[in-house]
Amino acid sequence: MDWFYSFPNMNDDTLRNLKKTLDEGFKAFTRQYGDVIESFFEPLQYFLIQAERFMTATPWPIMILLIGGIAWIASRNWKIVAGTVITLLLIGYFDMWSDAMKTIAMIFVGTVVSIVVGIPIGIVMARSDSFQRLVNPILDVMQTMPSFVYLIPVVMLLGIGKVPGLIAVVIYAIPPMIRLTNLGIRLVDKDVLEAADAFGSSSWQRLKNVQIPLALPTIMAGINQTIMMALAMVVIASMIGVQGLGQPVLRSVNGQFFSLGLFNGLAIVGIAIIFDRVSQAYGKRLQKHQEVVHG
């Protein structure tokens, strides 16, 4: 009855060998293709470095004007703009300006990559049930796998630095983008689609004129979620060398610096709220035609 109380597990040697084989296989893969993969991500690195340089090198008053201006264009709401400016001023006053700019650069690039990659995948998913069946479990894994676990192969392949950090951020942040694009397109009113067909739309015209515009509120919700998840990933990504607000948080965990952690944490919260309010207000403004209803 031994097997009843202790699980009849794989024998230790076999297990050790299995892990060893896997590790060595992956290491060999890394040695062989590491450089190729690294060069593949070079444009991304360039983009990231440029964005960061721009954010940190631009004098702070111009940066505040710029971000405030973007907030205004997107939301047309003075309260949101005022909140944005005050938050940025506070971040600067508490000496977190350059870290905050690095974080914003990271979020910006991560979100752009997620959108550029995620929306087309979402569109294909909406058009093909078999592709959806294939992608859904992958997204499930991406969302539930503890992020530390996929940091390991990323670091092994690309080392420590910005790009692996970015990849980790994108892996974590892209699923809602893909899922909500897919959902939004699938939920488009069948009657309107039929009308588009009846007038002889090609499938590109259908997509451009009907599916994307009608799915836009859902897609905007996806973008909003992606930004929030990217921000949540900033602290974890700091473990593999991503600079920004995550670094001091990490340091304060190690050294038990309560106030340092608190300030940087609050700065992340502040940035999250700015991004959230501005992107939501923009999404709502795109849907203004839905608000004015015939009495």
């Binding site: 588009a196 009846a198 007038f199 002889g200 739309s201 009608l214 836009l216 849907q287 035609h289 015939h294």
Partner: protein, 357 residues
């Protein structure tokens, strides 16, 4: 628009069958040999949508297809521009079989030959009235200038001038359907498909829209296929009416044919509620004997409906009237008595049933 002649193209539907289900082709032969809808559904799990539809829709006429929900009328209209693929049969328009077109030809056909108006309007909510109306032309790739020129004209024509920049949900149902109509007309296609286009509107607005359509039709003379579940609407609009039941045509003909000679009890039960005075024409009851002298000079034109004739005669305080054709030549005489009789007499089917009970 200078062309006042018939613009439409005739539509010939021949031996059209539609079976819904996993393997429709496997059952089409059995259905052709007479398998019933119930048997097909219960034994084989397939639904018979349409059975052996043959309708010849002449160019430039309003063809109404009437039936209750589930009769297959919406399925039928979707075969004309092949939003639904048939299981067997042909839909011939301009000597081409729509059912045999490839994707590209079909797209061109839909762009240039047909335009459709939908029960639930199906407007693009994110586009203004103007941008909705240009949709068909935009798809065809016309210049924006031309698109707008056409669209603005039709928007004005359906009575929405000044609403060009409104969004659909700022408009009432009736106005939204006017946009739907303007969108279809802007396409300037010879065939206009209207799928229960006015069914979602309240009665007064519906009457109003019917008048708009009849008015327009005098000018555009397109081949209009109009789907409805409302016999009054069918009789008011239809040059010809086909009545569908359980996916089969049970009767087709003019409105008067259907009211005077209902093919079966199903149709007579519809017809008994109809205001006959508005459907039957004086020619039906005119007698060639009688005393023209007694008409007192009152004439009614051939093709006048009974109600109007009755009004003319009561206004003139006469018991008789002469029916004349377009050139003014007398073709017969009607009496007030026969007129009232025709307006109230129940149709033969009912009489026979009443007698049996």
């Amino acid at each position: 628009m200078a062309d006042r002649n018939v613009q439409g193209a005739g539509i010939k539907i021949k031996n059209l069958y539609k079976i819904f289900g996993q393997r429709p082709d496997a059952y089409v032969e059995a259905v052709k040999k007479g398998m019933s809808k119930t048997e097909l559904n219960e034994k084989h799990g397939h639904v018979l949508g349409l059975r052996d539809i043959n309708i010849d829709m002449p160019a430039g006429c309003i063809q109404v297809v009437m039936g209750l929900s589930g009769s297959g009328k919406s399925t039928l209209i979707r075969h004309i521009n092949r939003l639904i693929d048939p299981t067997a049969g042909e839909v011939i328009i301009d000597n081409a079989d729509v059912c045999k077109m490839n994707q590209n030809d079909l797209r061109q056909f839909r762009r240039h030959k047909t335009a459709m108006v939908f029960q639930k309007f199906a407007l693009l909510p994110h586009r203004t009235v103007l941008d909705n109306t240009v949709y068909g032309l935009e798809i065809q790739g016309l210049s924006r200038e031309k698109q707008e020129e056409q669209a603005r004209r039709w928007i004005a024509r359906v009575g929405l001038k000044g609403f060009e920049d409104h969004y659909p949900n700022q408009l009432s149902g009736g106005m939204q359907q006017r946009v739907g109509l303007a969108r279809a007309l802007t396409n300037d296609a010879p065939i206009l498909l209207m799928d229960e286009a006015f069914s979602a509107l309240d009665p007064l607005i519906r009457m109003d829209m019917q008048s708009v359509l009849l008015d327009l039709q005098k000018e555009i003379k397109k081949t209009v296929v109009f789907i409805t579940h409302d016999l009054d609407e069918a009789l008011r609009l239809g040059d010809r009416i086909a009545i569908l039941r359980d996916g089969e045509v049970v009767q087709q003909g003019t409105g008067q044919d259907i009211v005077l000679k209902p093919a079966d009890e199903y149709i007579s039960s519809f017809v008994k509620e109809v205001n006959r005075g508005r459907v039957i024409m004086v020619d039906t009851i005119a007698t060639h004997s009688g005393a023209p002298a007694a008409t007192g000079g009152v004439t009614v034109k051939s093709g006048t409906i009974l109600e109007e004739a009755a009004k003319t005669m009561t206004d003139a305080n006469q018991q008789y009237a002469t029916v004349v054709d377009d050139s003014g030549k007398p073709t017969g005489v009607i009496s007030m008595n026969s007129l009232i009789q025709a307006m109230v007499t129940p149709i033969s089917h009912l009489t026979s049933r009443a007698a049996a009970e």
